[in-house]
Symmetry: C2
Subunit: 135 residues, 2 copies
DNA sequence: TTAATCCCTATAGTTAACTCTAGGTCAAGT
DNA sequence: ACTTGACCTAGAGTTAACTATAGGGATTAA
């Protein structure tokens, strides 16, 4: 079975070797095997697991909570309910983040317009006259 | 003109007074006036400015960059191009974040399904048989 | 008038998530 | 034989963004 070195995995996932070792130290990747002298050997499935970890991280989940999930995975079928709930919570969280981003986008787009108009007029005063000032 | 105390503003914006004083120290709200003995008096417009600051923060913009923007605002019309460019960049960034979140959501939803099926079957092995394993 | 409750500053401490350094092992190339 | 360049651990350092503490001033309620 093909394996990858830590630096190959780092490159593939746009992480540093420091980060990967840090994840290991924090218990996120206990399944990664080692050679007799301690060198980590990453399997394809380990890289996939890391992709899930990165996905969870991108939802804003802290590393400690991700570790809890990894621990559940190691414990087997008895933790299926917890893991299901966790992903449902993540889903709700991502939905909320999308809503937030939408609102943010509205304000940002408003400001883009605000500054476009001001730039064309050469002065911000145009908005004071028009009473559309926000800032 | 009506003014607000730091704790009123904190409550309104779901921040702490610590955070507001920290923002002040970092130069994000140089326009907030003071009484003779140093107590901050927030105007309605200051609260609106803080809402814009929170919006920028929610796009992932670091406080130092927000300060740069605030400085530009103080400098007047000569910095309109920079400010316009900044908001256009923010817009692009938020668009990218939305794309990212969408991809994240796909994986999360996939895992929700994965665990729903496993939960119904009582075991994760169902996926090993069906070869839909991801993790 | 005194106690509570707000406000202030300066500065120290915290937390998360890295990021780096020192010191060492091991395999491959010259 | 020796240098280069991967890899390793333990532990120190960094950064951002708070968060809290100590010590003090002003206003208000009893």
């Amino acid at each position: 079975m093909k394996t990858y070195s830590i630096s190959e995995v780092a490159k593939e996932l746009n992480l540093t070797v420091y980060t990967l070792r840090y994840y290991d130290k924090e218990g996120l990747i206990p399944f990664v095997e080692r050679t007799s002298n301690g060198t980590r050997l990453f399997k394809e499935s380990d890289i996939n697991a890391l992709k899930v970890i990165e996905c969870l991280k991108s939802t804003g989940m802290p590393i400690k909570e991700i570790k809890t999930f990894i621990d559940w995975c190691s414990e087997g079928d008895s933790t299926l309910p917890q893991r299901y709930d966790m992903f449902m919570e993540r889903k709700a969280s991502v939905e909320a983040q999308m809503e937030e981003l939408k609102k943010t986008m509205e304000l940002i787009e408003h400001k883009c317009l605000y500054y476009k108009t001001a730039l064309e007029a050469g002065t911000e005063d145009i908005h004071k006259k028009e009473k559309i000032t926000i800032f």
